[in-house]
């Protein structure tokens, strides 16, 4: 444990600096925070084995949100004129409690809803789930992770019996001979991870990137397969077809460790390279080259991200890529396997402990009688008092204010009127609510609609655990006190529970006590945290779950011998390619795809308020190929109206040859008139309920703001 000890000593040596983690993505860079006069100093933590001191521009500037002038410092509530004005905590909490009790009395328990977030710590996510089931007795709880990780999570569970984003430590990336990176622009969305790909390259490894755009990540690859949006399953099947054709699959592994390959083999027989080329737009020669780089490598990884997953067939897409990893015998072998790159800060932990509509802590299923028994005992309630599974995020939002939908809602750490698909419609649903409460630290677009807004503490102001993209449970330490008048989310939930008459089930002195209960609740589940303690995390710089006992070292690598499925085998799934929910046509001839930029994070509620980040990218623009731009009479800097079947919005034009001629890209970090999600398609994956953010049909018009053409 030399490294760990070193870390502690380092910590002590710099006693004025507090070691914590970045508030943003799932990489959860270790950072040190200290104060120098009135300034907060941010430094990378060299001793943290994940980022090794590296930070990106979002991390470097993260402290600017802490003492931001727009920071909410007292609760707000609507006055008689409908304005949001300051009020007391007691009044705010009493109003929420009253509204909840009222809605329940009038419409039943499921009319009260909770919307959580992948940004919440494990303790908060756990407590929010418990709050729903114990304090409110409602089935209506879900979170924004549906819009993020749900497809990969569902695929992993189907294939491997468990979902841990990376079932191996990041370190192994550096030693993989070939990596297939699907739909990820990690160089901008998770920059510090690129050090591992850089080392992989230095070790002689090859990188294949699949993306409709030539992103900085794709530009760094040996092969870039620039596929047509929405054709992932055809591409994955096509690669597997070539691997079978050329005898590169691992028959022994398939025989001994998997099931279901025969059907896959027959299905992919219809994905010969010429057909796949026509569907995906990827040249045959590139398909063959990529298949051979994968199939002839001793060690190889298949990593997927939102590009393939945020589709109405996101689960199928992920399964089709998983088939490649299984057929090559990669899963469970060193420096090999399948993984997904989690997006949100606690996107992993946030999907394990019960803020999902169908789930209980420890990655248990809400409809599993044994799981219900276990959790009911931990929570000291009757098993039949536990509600059943509720609606998924989009379905819940779509039902807001409706007859059988949620009438009173609390949103915590999320900004769904920007981040949900078909956002104008979702905005209207929010407006139809009887009552909305939002807990946040800025007045986000969603908070602006609220009846009551609760100012909550930020990441550096409270303690709690996060589970990073590797399944490593880490500890965020508190560096500063929250501003006067601000409570932590845990304090908020406990206080609210007291107002609802459930004080005894929510009497936690702090996050540690919540974590101790979470440990007991997760014991025996797939994501077993029962052997993890704050002290153990500190000593080891994180513990990988499952960790079923205090003397258990945690599980950095999974699947070495078997899979947690009924028979211990991984499962293949035969996947047919189906076109996206909305295909391009004469009227809407371009694919619209959406995504992220370096300078901003998710709905932008934090990063748009940070001057340095705003300077990097002030407003969203449409990325368009020069040939297509010419066709529409558009030039760099022009304004264009982008239209889909959901609506229209005007953006600046950015001309780049790094995108396909048939595709345009708009980032989604902005709200209101600049919210691209007002235009995206809410077609949902039948299993994960993931909306189709990554592909819909669009058309472009010159804006009259440009003046006369020519």
């Amino acid at each position: 444990m030399a490294v760990a000890l070193q870390g502690i000593e380092f910590h002590r040596a710099m006693s004025d600096a507090v070691f914590t983690h970045c508030p943003y993505c799932a990489f959860q860079c270790g950072m040190r925070l200290s104060r120098s006069g009135s300034k907060i100093i941010v430094e990378g933590d060299e001793s943290f084995p994940v980022n090794k001191g590296a930070l990106c521009v979002k991390g470097w500037t993260s402290a600017a949100a802490l003492e931001h002038p727009e920071r909410l410092r007292q609760p707000l509530a609507r006055n008689a004129r409908g304005e949001l004005v300051p009020t007391t905590w007691d009044d705010a909490l009493a109003r929420i409690a009253r509204a909840f009790i009222d809605a329940r009395a009038r419409y039943g328990p499921n009319a009260v809803g909770l919307f959580g977030s992948g940004a919440l710590t494990n303790e908060k996510a756990y407590l929010l789930g418990k709050f729903a089931r114990v304090a409110l007795g409602t089935a209506s709880i879900d979170y924004n992770g549906r819009f993020c990780m749900s497809s990969a999570a569902a695929a992993s569970i189907k294939a491997f019996g468990v979902d841990r984003g990376l079932p191996f430590p990041l370190e192994e990336i550096a030693h993989a001979e070939t990596i297939l990176l699907v739909g990820s622009n990690a160089a901008e969305t998770m920059p510090p991870i690129m050090q591992y790909f850089q080392r992989q390259r230095e070790n002689g490894g090859r990188l294949i990137v699949i993306d409709p755009r030539r992103t900085p990540t794709a530009a760094a690859a040996d092969i870039h397969l620039q596929l047509t949006p929405g054709t992932d399953a055809a591409l994955a099947n096509g690669l597997l077809h070539l691997l079978v054709r050329d005898g590169l699959i691992d028959e022994q592994y398939i025989r001994e460790r998997t099931e279901g390959f025969e059907l896959v083999r027959r299905t992919i027989a219809s994905y010969w390279p010429e057909r796949v080329e026509r569907i995906t737009g990827v040249p045959v020669a590139q398909l063959i080259e990529a298949a051979h780089l994968l199939g002839r490598a001793e060690t190889a990884m298949v990593l997927t991200a939102r590009g393939a997953e945020q589709q109405a067939r996101g689960v199928d897409n992920a399964l089709a890529y998983i088939n490649i990893a299984l057929a090559l015998g990669l899963v469970g072998k060193p420096s090999s396997g399948y993984g997904c790159l989690t997006g949100q800060g606690n996107g992993q932990g946030g999907r394990e402990h019960g803020q999902k509509a169908d789930q209980l802590p420890g990655y248990r299923r809400l409809d599993d009688p044994a799981a219900r028994r276990h959790i009911a005992a931990v929570w000291r309630i009757a098993e039949d008092a536990l509600p059943g599974p509720g609606r998924s995020a989009y379905e819940m939002l779509d039902g807001l204010g409706r007859e059988d939908g949620v009438r009173a809602l609390l949103v915590m750490g999320s900004n769904p009127v920007v981040s949900a698909p078909n956002a104008a419609h979702i905005m209207a649903r929010f407006e139809a609510l009887d009552f909305l409460a939002v807990a946040d630290f800025f007045l986000s677009e969603t908070a602006q609609l609220a009846d009551v807004v609760l100012p909550s503490a930020q990441w550096a102001e409270e303690e709690g655990t996060m589970t990073n993209l590797e399944g490593r449970v880490i500890l965020r330490r508190r560096a500063f006190s929250p501003p006067e008048g601000v409570l932590t989310d845990i304090e908020i939930l406990c206080a609210l529970a007291a107002h609802l008459g459930h004080a005894s089930s929510f009497s936690f002195a702090g996050p540690r006590e919540v974590f101790d209960e979470l440990r007991r609740a997760s014991a025996g589940g797939l994501a077993d945290y029962s052997g993890i303690t704050y002290e153990k995390i500190e000593a080891n710089r994180g513990i990988f779950w499952p960790c079923p006992a205090e003397d258990h070292p945690g599980t950095p690598r999974m699947f070495a011998d078997s899979f947690p499925t009924a028979n211990g085998r991984a499962r293949f799934h035969a996947i047919e390619y189906r076109p996206p929910a909305e295909e391009i046509d004469e009227e809407y001839p371009l694919y619209l795809t959406t995504g992220r930029l370096l300078a901003h994070y998710q709905s932008g509620a934090q990063t748009r308020r940070i001057a340095e980040l705003r300077e990097l990218v002030e407003e969203p623009s449409i990325e368009i190929h020069p040939a297509t731009a010419k066709l529409y009479g558009l030039a760099e800097g022009d304004r264009a109206i982008l239209r889909t079947r959901r609506g229209a919005a005007e953006f600046k034009v950015r001309v780049t040859a790094d995108i396909r001629e048939d595709t345009i890209f708009v980032p989604f970090h902005w709200g209101n008139a600049l919210a691209i999600n007002r235009l995206t398609n809410a077609a949902l994956d039948p299993i994960s309920k993931m909306p189709e953010f990554k592909v819909c049909a669009a058309r472009l018009e010159r804006s009259s703001a440009n003046g006369k053409e020519g």
Binding site: G44, A54, L55, C56, V57, W60, A187, E188, P191, P192, I193, M194, Q195, F197, Q198, P216, A220, T228, V244, R245, R265, R266, T267, A269, S270, W272, E274, R275, E277, R278, T280, G281, V282, P283, V284, A285, Q286, E576, I584, E586, P589, L598, A599, L616, H625, P626, A627, T628, K630, L631, A657, E661, D662
Partner: protein, 490 residues
């Protein structure tokens, strides 16, 4: 409601695909399904047969659905049973061996068969057609003992078969009636370049040769041409085109031209309960021999019959073909020549590099193309053709993959550090203001403080800058220091 009886004649690329689509769309709940298939297998991917011959594929890897699959899905498959008659009065299909199936709806997917040209002596041993997996196996078996093969027909299938035999080590001749290869899809220029490329691979190609007879007693030993010349060979494959299998329909009194006539509803105009799809069908005067149109038809008919979209109509398919010969990139689509006075023709021809591209454009949209020798641009053009998309005003912008590779990037604003969004300009500014090591630049701009992969580039910018500014800083010694600083930092 009890299920309707649905019978499919034909278990090939169209028939079996239709059954798959129908089941996928929930048609299993509406129909009791029976299939006649005259081959003794489940269905396989016929498209890949020439690759099986060439040894690129194992035969087992082209099977799509084994007989079990039909059973598991409640489909009665009459394996190896040829349908002999459609009794429209009794609404029954009668098969070989007395097997009969009554139908409420009937789908004819009988495919096509090889055309046998009027050549004397084609029944001898050593003469083959190339249509089925059994044909493929017989040819491969024969090829083991043969030295010299002749393929009659220089169309797509003939060339792919020839390539297969060449790969098996035979001296392979292609005998073609017309003045250039693949004349249905290629113009003369394209045909000539293709011929040279195939010859370079080792094929012997004979154009404008009409075969009139074979040599040999019971076994073929050669071919005789109408000009009196002969060609010695010990096996022959006839690839002289295909003809739709229409006899069953004809006997049943359905309208037949070249193929079985169908409307946009894929039904015969003579009988609303009888449909035809695949190579045997003729829609709007057009029969199809490639797989994509067959699958379009199969999908649309399934949508209609499974009632997912009972009003779905088939309005014709965009046809494209790719020659499956390793080492030759050739895709053809749509028209090979202009059809109307206003059609534009754009040609790029570079015979010495075996590159030939020809686009036929109507009203700014691609209606046909020949693309030879440059695989990288094929998909973009093919998709533009499939979607009837508007082409760039200057078609060259889509004809060459390097068309946009050198758009000037404003190098001053070019981003060097992606983790921190630091441009080249910012780095240069930092250097100019005296930050002359990689670490100093990092401190000043944050460039290189993320993943670190841009540090090499920052170092290069530093060196270039120092070289430019010359003078005091250019001393080798100083560069040495910088290197040391860089190495220490990384």
């Amino acid at each position: 409601m009890s299920k309707q009886r649905l019978v499919i004649i034909g278990n090939g690329m169209a028939g079996a695909r239709f059954v798959e689509e129908l089941l996928a769309q929930g048609g299993g709940a509406l129909f009791e399904i029976a299939v006649f298939g005259d081959e003794p297998y489940g269905n396989y991917n016929r498209i890949l047969l020439s690759n099986v011959l060439a040894g690129t594929y194992d035969a087992q890897d082209i099977f799509i659905n084994p007989p079990d699959w039909y059973r598991e899905n409640g489909v009665r498959l009459h394996l190896g049973v040829r349908a002999l008659e459609i009794d429209r009065q009794a609404k029954r299909v009668i098969g070989e061996g007395g097997c009969a199936e009554a139908y409420d709806k009937l789908v004819i997917a009988t495919g096509s068969r090889p055309v046998i040209p009027p050549i004397e002596g084609l029944s001898k041993d050593g003469v083959f057609v190339f249509r089925t997996l059994d044909d493929c196996r017989r040819i491969a078996k024969e090829a083991k003992h043969a030295q010299r093969a002749a393929i009659i027909g220089g169309g797509l299938l003939g060339l792919e078969a020839a390539y297969g035999l060449l790969k098996l080590g035979l001296e392979t001749h292609v005998v073609h009636l017309m003045s250039h290869l693949m004349e249905a899809q290629l113009d003369a220029t394209g045909g000539a370049i293709l011929k040279r490329e195939l010859e370079r691979m080792g094929l012997k190609i004979h154009l404008r040769k009409r075969t009139i007879a074979t040599l040999g007693q019971d076994r073929v030993t050669g071919l005789v041409f109408d000009d009196g010349a002969t060609l010695d060979c010990d096996m022959v494959i006839v690839c002289a085109g295909t003809r739709p299998n229409v006899e069953l329909a004809q006997k049943a009194g359905l309208a037949v031209e070249r193929g079985i006539v169908i409307g946009d509803d894929l039904a015969s105009p003579d009988d609303p309960d009888i449909y035809a799809i695949g190579e045997c069908a003729e829609h709007n005067g057009q029969t199809y021999g490639t797989v994509a149109p067959l699958w379009d038809q199969a999908r649309i008919l399934a949508e209609r019959l499974a009632r997912r979209n009972p009003a779905a109509r088939y309005t014709g398919s965009r046809v494209s073909t790719r020659l499956k010969v390793a080492g030759i990139e050739l895709t053809v689509m749509g028209a090979k020549d202009p059809q109307r006075p206003n059609d534009e023709v754009v040609v790029y021809s570079d015979p010495s590099r075996a590159v030939y591209k020809k686009l036929i454009i109507r009203n700014g949209r691609l209606i046909g193309a020949i693309l030879l020798g440059d695989g990288m641009t094929i998909p973009t053009l093919l998709q533009a053709f499939d979607r009837r998309a508007r082409l760039p005003e200057n078609p060259a912008e889509i004809m060459f993959s390097f068309a946009w590779s050198n758009i000037p990037k404003a190098s001053e604003t070019q981003r060097i550090c992606h983790c921190n969004g630091v441009s080249r300009a910012k780095i240069v500014a930092a250097i100019r203001s005296g930050h002359c090591t990689v670490d100093a630049v990092a401190k000043a701009t944050r460039a290189g403080t993320g993943c670190g992969s841009c540090r090499t580039e920052i170092h290069a910018i530093l060196e270039a800058h120092l070289r430019e500014t010359g003078g005091a800083l250019a001393a080798a010694e100083r560069v040495g220091q910088l290197r040391a600083a860089y190495d220490a930092a990384s």
